[in-house]
Amino acid sequence: MSGISDREFAETIAPAAVSHCSPARQLRIWLNIGIQSFGGGAATLYLIRRAAVEQHGWLTDEEFTRYWGICQISPGINLIGLCILIGWRVSGWLGVALALAGLLLPSAAITIALTAGYASVEHVPMVRAALRGTAPATVGLGLLLAYSMARPLLVAGRREGRANLALAWALLIGSALLSTRGAPVLALLWGAGALAALGYWRLGIRQGQTR
């Protein structure tokens, strides 16, 4: 990445000078988070923050917030990015490997086991009936998820003025409409991103609105 000197990079993201946490202990901490984090992303985020900031002092509250902001603009699942950053901070690549293993192996294994269990009873009539109930419920929960994604952005838009709010609604509705027309989704997502980058740059936004 141009413009970033090695020294600056090293300073901002160097593994903590004193890593008094043995690899086995790090793995145990992350496994604990991975196993306990039922209830979706918010629960996982809470557990990571508690372990990394409050219990082990790997980073300050401020750094944690900054790390989370970085993950918002990085590719892939934000929580995985967060544990990569923290793992790196604690003990470099080893820390990254331990964090990923601890967070993902238990939860992935449980996800696979649940799916396998489901797949083996999929054709039982009672399960089929149960599924006819859970399908619309999944839609209801999905609506909630979409709402919780869009709401903070619309609220921020409203605070910033009419033009910003209109742009937010236009992006939300426009992408939905275009996707029903079979537009390539990747182009749609990045088109919306580019439009918003340009739009909010011209219009100005208040800092720190997007979590």
């Binding site: 970033i4 892939g76 996800t111 799916t115 859970t134 419920a137 209801g140 939300l172 580019a194």
Partner: protein
């Protein structure tokens, strides 16, 4: 038949060009449905299982991988979603300079709004597949209401919905 390599590449692409746990859904949905490798029903099942399993909510795609291609599919997905977040180490380098720039923040907003918008369309498709009738609408609204209170765990909401399904169908 699912080509493992193409499947892996599609999952990797979706994770690479999106952010957050549900951000890859619109891309994965279009790619897999176009190829006839997945159905809306499988997406519904994977999303439901993803909601009740622990860890990041983005792990729903692991469940989808298992439904489509067994253990191999699940493991391919796990690798495909683990690699792109590693780029966070690079993003960290220029975040200090560009992270607060309105264009960067704007880009993330646009991406999230588009994901939410397209997700709504995907949900509408799932609902159409399940059948748009009073019963289904009431179940969906009930789940939405219970979920919105934030007091009722997702697994309880889905469990109740399953009981309603068993009682009615």
């Amino acid at each position: 038949m699912i080509d493992a390599l193409v499947f892996f590449a599609l999952m990797l692409k979706a994770a690479l060009f999106s952010t957050s746990g549900i951000g890859n859904l619109p891309i994965v949905h279009q790619d897999l449905l176009d190829r006839g490798w997945a159905t809306d029903r499988q997406f519904t099942e994977a999303l439901a299982i993803g909601q009740i399993s622990p860890g990041p909510s983005g792990l729903w795609v692991i469940s989808l991988g298992y439904l489509l291609d067994g253990l191999r599919g699940a493991i391919l997905v796990l690798i495909a979603i683990t690699l792109p977040p590693l780029l966070v180490l690079l993003v960290h380098g220029f975040y200090r300079r560009l992270g607060d720039h309105p264009a960067t923040q704007g880009f993330v907003r646009g991406l999230s709004l588009a994901v939410a918008g397209i997700f709504l369309v995907v949900l509408a498709g799932i609902m159409r597949g399940a059948g748009i009738n009073i019963t289904n609408l009431l179940i969906a609204l009930g789940a939405l209401g219970l979920g919105a209170t934030r007091r009722v765990p997702v697994i309880v909401v889905l469990g109740l919905a399953a009981l309603v399904g068993i009682a009615l169908f």
